[in-house]
């Protein structure tokens, strides 16, 4: 076991639990629990968004992909970023101005609360649980590799610590955990990249040239490993791009800032940090390829995931290796905490308060239910981690983004932009997107060939066989079609009549409150 790694890791745990203690004393209302009292600045929220988004998969996974495949790994680096400008241009303002705590607030704004909230909670939980499986299994395996700790103990530690953040500190503690994690991850990656580049006269192209000299020019060129066909590439691109705009734990962050202006600033900062991080992964990936070597990376196990930690060891010695391992652990912890909080919000705010109690629940009860939901999800996370132990769950990340892009994103867009969008249109769009993603993934090569090891020539003869690795292209289209057709068949005059008022709210934001309260305007 690496002593430095353990010291850094416990330092991080101590610091974040201290912050949780501080935040717990400020978390007295649901406003604080779900939205940190709307008191987070745009800059802080930008870092927190980056923290929520940059998972261990993007840090260790992409570095590994680039180290082993060269250019092909970079396709992911760009794909993971391009959803952010879309969130900024189309989603950020309506989301901030129409909702209260969850994106479901926006979808259900003009529609019948019960059916829409239940459907959207299903969409949220599908994303939260599939993403959680990927993170927890990744965490267990990774911690076994990094700290030589038992898998189950690792999963329980992650579950228990993140439950403490969410349960006691709510959104305020979770936000600061994300900010600290984002700074550590960005700082650690930057230092590592600079240490690598120092050996190549601070010229990235000199590093890439060395990689080509050792492994052949093909590492700088598109190959066939990651992108197999044009439709596969487009489908994956759609999932990455629009899935980002359908992730409930990301969308929930927009309520932590005071207004739409700060929401915009926060997405711009998130875009800058995440983009910078992915540019750095170019250097880390090729750095590992040259300084550690493909053989060394493969020998370490974990399918390339050890590329970044091994590179840290090569350029900064064992102390730096320990630091990067601790950062990777902290990364998983923070992402799981964000997921748990958004799942708890869906169960308590959407289902309990608005469906079961029809919007009439006292503050103390709401808070109690939210905390119970957080505990349930924490236990679920640990159980899922144990159940899926040792299985290949890489496809879960693709599934998460496909469900987010096919269930949550279409409903959100149609609710914001389309007057005729109806209750049953929303329910249909969400359910078809979520179920379609699951079914098509199961009938496709990802599950049939990669997981069940069926012979591709034989299985592709079946009538139900679906040829794309990522189902998003079809499931997202289906979701939009179902949403439109059902809405046209079930007209809802009450919802259409409210569209103008909702539109006004999207435009005016907090100014609309001033107007509604009828207060005279000062100094006019």
């Amino acid at each position: 076991m690496n002593i430095e790694a353990v010291v850094f890791f416990f330092g991080f745990i101590a610091l974040t639990l201290g912050i949780t203690y501080w935040a717990a004393r400020r978390t007295k209302t649901t406003e604080h629990f779900y939205a940190a009292g709307h008191g987070v600045t745009g800059f802080q929220n930008g870092l927190a968004l980056a923290g929520d988004y940059m998972s261990a998969a993007s840090f260790l996974g992409i570095a590994g992909l680039v180290a082993l495949n060269g250019f092909d790994g970079l396709i992911y680096s760009t794909g993971w970023l391009v959803g952010w400008p879309i969130i900024l241009f189309l989603i950020a303002e309506p989301l901030r101005n129409l909702g209260k705590y969850t994106f479901t607030d926006v979808v259900a704004y003009r529609l019948q609360q019960q059916p829409v909230r239940i459907a959207a909670a299903i969409g949220t939980m599908a994303v939260v649980l599939t993403y959680m499986i990927a993170q927890m299994v990744g965490a267990g395996t990774l911690i076994k590799l990094l700290f030589d700790l038992d898998y189950t103990i690792a999963v329980v530690i992650v579950g228990a610590v993140m439950m403490a953040y969410v349960l006691f500190g709510g959104m305020l503690a979770t936000t600061w955990v994300q900010i600290i994690k984002a700074c550590l991850l960005l700082g650690g990656a930057l230092v590592m990249a600079l240490l690598v580049l120092a050996q190549f006269g601070f010229s990235p192209t000199a590093l890439f040239a060395k990689a080509a000299e050792l492994n052949g020019d093909q590492v700088l060129k598109p190959g066939t490993k990651v992108v197999t066909g044009a439709w596969d590439a487009v489908s994956l691109g759609l999932a990455l791009m629009f899935g980002t705009a359908g992730l409930p734990h990301i969308l929930m962050r927009f309520y932590t800032v005071p207004d739409a202006k700060q929401a915009r600033i926060s997405v711009a900062w998130a875009t800058i940090w995440i983009g910078a991080f992915y540019l750095i992964t170019f250097v880390l990936g090729f750095g590992a390829m040259v300084l550690v070597g493909m053989k060394g990376i493969l020998a370490a196990g974990g399918g390339g995931n050890m590329a970044a930690p091994l590179l840290a060891n090569a350029v900064g010695g064992s102390a730096f290796f320990g630091f990067i391992c601790a950062v990777a652990f902290a990364t998983i912890l923070a992402v799981v905490a964000g997921l748990t909080l958004s799942g708890a919000a869906a169960l308590s705010h959407d289902i309990w308060v608005n469906v079961v109690r029809k919007g009439q629940a006292p503050e103390s009860e709401q808070l109690r239910v939210a905390r119970i939901a957080a505990v349930i999800l924490g236990v679920c996370a640990i159980l899922l981690g144990v159940i899926f132990r040792g299985q290949n769950v890489a496809y879960m990340v693709g599934l998460t983004f496909s469900i987010a892009a096919s269930a949550n994103f279409p409903a959100l867009v149609m609710a914001i932009f389309w007057r005729r969008f109806s209750t049953w249109g929303a329910v249909g769009a969400i359910l078809v997107g979520a179920i379609g993603s699951l079914v098509l993934l199961y009938c496709g090569p990802t599950i049939q060939v990669d997981i069940l090891h069926e012979d591709i020539a034989k299985v592709s003869q079946n009538w139900w066989y679906f040829p794309l690795k990522n189902p998003c292209l079809i499931s997202m289209t289906l979701s939009f079609v179902v949403g439109i057709v059902v809405s046209l068949l079930t007209r809802e005059p009450a919802a259409e009549a409210e569209f103008a008022q909702a539109e006004r709210r999207v435009i005016l934001g907090t100014l609309a409150d001033v107007e509604a309260s009828g207060r005279p305007v000062a100094a006019e």
């Binding site: 970079l74 760009t78 970023l81 590439a233």
Partner: protein, 95 residues
């Protein structure tokens, strides 16, 4: 209310137009890159110098163009759009 509606909606319509244009730009840039990866392998494989292929350059430029478009939008929205809306809303209430 109706006399307030039109100037505010005109300003908001302008924002949607800009937001949609920028979104389409991002789509074109990203899917252009992805389709080049799928169909334009020879082009992306051209080496511009030792260690730099067209593919790597375009990948980096995709990320940088996201930065630039995001910054342009936020500067415009926070400095011009919000002020115009606030002015229009104030003017509407006064009359």
């Amino acid at each position: 209310m109706s006399d307030v509606g039109s100037p505010i909606h005109a300003i908001a319509a302008k924002r949607w137009k800009i937001a949609l244009t920028l979104s389409v730009l991002v789509l074109v840039i990203y899917f252009g890159f992805i389709l080049l990866v799928a169909f334009g392998k020879p082009l992306l494989s051209i080496l511009l110098g030792p260690g730099l292929s067209v593919g790597i350059l375009l990948g980096a430029l995709t990320i940088i163009s996201c930065w630039i478009l995001a910054i342009i939008y936020v500067r415009w929205a926070n400095h011009h759009y919000d002020d115009e809306i606030a002015r229009a809303a104030r003017w509407g209430r006064k009359s």
